[in-house]
């Protein structure tokens, strides 16, 4: 958590990014404390990537204040970049080089000696379990392997801040879990993680604190638990009805839950005690095809805050 005694690693006030007439990031405020794992959660086009690119000094700030590691990206980009690691949304591995060469040359971009770059490359290949592929070309690697190599590459300068833009998008569950495990280890070593994601489980797994972004603005801030407490109930009762048998009159759900959401095939009732709500509805004669009580998740918060309609 950000405290007054510890200066923020990233500090943003009124941070704005515009592309012509389009506002990608609209006056957002946030602070990231050292050692914290901080997430930007939001649908596609919410402004997450634009924000992370500004932090990574590859996108000029249009307006507002941004300091990274206490420095101004406009004036000190090379010094900031020397201390951060970046995992971009799309892999930018060097296809003309081998796996190990990718790491060595990246270390050289950071002015490491050849020997030191080689030493760290070997160490990092072990860390991301790619030691056996050191001499392989990049092209034939699987998506998960490329992602791991990208993460290894981002660590070559032993960064104090790691920026990850949708690190696990497009990966299968095994690859995701392996990545999460590696990121968790980095976090334990004290590396500050800043990540964007639209996966709720990823945010819950990795983030101490997160902001929900929607339409270029921050709409909520807190730990996953705080957000659930603030924007959802403890439990959710999900009722599924046969296609033509859903209750047409919504008033039948009155008073059972703090919030009711009627979807084409389902009704979601947000209540602190889902079982109790189910009992009351049964007494009122509601007969769903299936009935399920589950804990509220970040996904409920997310959908409440950013809406259910598909944003492209």
């Amino acid at each position: 958590m950000a405290t007054s005694s510890e200066p923020a690693l990233i500090h943003a006030r009124g941070l704005t990014k515009r592309f012509g007439a389009f506002t990608a990031v609209d006056a957002v405020d946030f602070d990231v404390a050292p050692g914290e794992s901080f997430g930007f959660l939001g649908p596609n086009g919410a402004g997450k990537t634009s924000t992370v690119r500004m932090i990574g000094c590859v996108s000029p700030v249009t307006e507002g204040v941004l300091t990274v590691l206490g420095l101004d990206p406009a004036a000190d980009s090379s010094r900031i970049k020397s201390r951060i690691g970046v995992v971009p949304q799309q892999d930018t591995l060097d296809m003309e080089l081998t796996v190990r060469e990718n790491l060595v040359i990246y270390g050289r971009y950071f002015d490491l000696s050849r020997r030191e770059a080689g030493r760290r490359a070997d160490e990092l290949l072990e860390f991301v379990q790619l030691g056996e592929r050191a001499k392989s070309q990049v092209e034939p690697l699987s998506g998960g392997m490329k992602r791991r190599l990208t993460i290894a590459r981002s660590l070559i300068n032993e960064p104090s801040l790691l920026l990850l833009d949708e690190p696990t998008t497009g990966l299968d569950p095994q690859a995701r879990h392996l990545l999460w495990d590696r990121l968790y280890r980095l976090k334990q070593r004290g590396v500050t993680l800043v990540l964007t994601t639209h996966f709720m489980d990823e945010a819950e797994q990795l983030c101490d604190r997160l902001v929900v972004m929607d339409k270029a603005k921050i709409v909520a801030v807190g730990s996953p638990r705080e957000l659930i407490e603030q924007y959802s109930t403890r439990e959710v009762l999900e009722l599924r009805f046969p296609a033509d048998a859903a209750p047409t009159d919504g008033s039948i759900f009155d008073g059972v839950a703090s919030r009711v959401e009627q979807l084409p095939d389902r009704v979601l009732l947000y209540a602190d005690d889902g079982e109790a709500a189910a009992v009351v509805l049964h007494e009122r004669g509601v007969r769903p095809e299936t009935s399920l009580v589950r804990r509220s998740s970040l996904e409920d918060v997310f959908l409440r805050l950013t809406g259910r309609s598909l944003i492209e």
Binding site: V58, A75, S78, R79, K81
Partner: protein, 266 residues
């Protein structure tokens, strides 16, 4: 914050360009055959045109009243045009691929490397390759007995200057290329330059005002520069050729720097 930035040395743009060259050396260690092809291209032209066609042409009369064989006459022209072709090749296809597809530069810019490092590094790399070809070509000329003036050693920096001018402008043009077929526009320019820049015959072949027009085109400047060195007919106009190519390269470099910043730092 301010105290920190005053203590630490200011970063000098362009100083990490050597890292990009190092990266390209790593790549070419495996694809060295491409280097070989760059050497043979002008040598093959020299054999085919200098000696093949040259046998039919007979000696060439220089403005000094002296006669030289056609091969001696055409060799510096071929060196100049291959310096152009090599530079254009390196600074167009290769750069386009790295810029638009491989995202090589995006990856570099996430490190302390800056846009100027990329611009200077790629152009310097094209120059290094061009220099190797020029040295190889001169050695071939020596073997074929085509060296007339000791001044020809200065044709190596001369070829580098041509390479610099065309690499910078070629890379600048590439920043506007959106798809592979757009490259045809670049070759619509470079092919006539190759053929008509007094490469294969003296510029006096052209009637005025065509002669003045041709003499103002960039490859003609390069051909005249190298030819005057090769034939030992250096006059004061050599300074004009040098200044022309130098300005062309520097303007290209500035444009590349700005365009890359625009494309990569959005």
């Amino acid at each position: 914050m301010t105290s920190l930035s005053t203590i630490a040395p200011a970063y000098q743009p362009g100083t990490r360009a050597a890292r990009l060259i190092e990266r390209n050396v790593m790549v070419y260690r495996r694809t060295w055959i491409m280097l070989v092809s760059g050497f043979f291209e002008p040598v093959f032209y020299l054999l085919a045109i200098g000696f093949g066609i040259g046998g039919l042409v007979g000696p060439i009369l220089l403005p000094s009243g002296e006669h030289v064989s056609y091969a001696v006459f055409v060799a510096p022209g071929l060196l100049a045009s291959s310096a152009m072709n090599g530079a254009i090749y390196d600074s167009t296809f290769n750069i386009f691929f790295k810029l638009r597809y491989a995202k090589t530069y995006d990856a570099m810019l996430s490190t302390p490397m800056a846009v100027t490092d990329v611009a200077v590094g790629e152009i310097a790399w094209a120059l290094i390759r061009g220099t190797m070809y020029a040295v190889g070509f001169l050695v071939a000329m020596a073997f074929l007995g085509l060296i007339k003036s000791p001044l020809i050693v200065f044709a190596i920096p001369g070829a580098m200057l041509i390479g610099f001018a065309f690499a910078a402008v070629g890379m600048a043009a590439t920043t506007w290329v959106r798809r592979w077929t757009d490259f045809d526009w670049i070759f619509v320019v470079t092919l006539p330059l190759f053929l008509f820049s007094a490469t294969f015959y003296p510029i006096t072949v052209y009637p005025e005002p065509l002669r003045t027009f041709v003499s103002l085109t960039p490859l003609t400047q390069g051909v005249e520069l190298l030819r005057s060195l090769a034939l030992g007919t250096v006059g004061p106009d050599i300074l004009v050729h040098i200044a022309y190519l130098l300005v062309m390269g520097l303007v290209g470099l500035v444009v590349v720097d700005r365009r890359l910043a625009r494309l990569l730092l959005k």
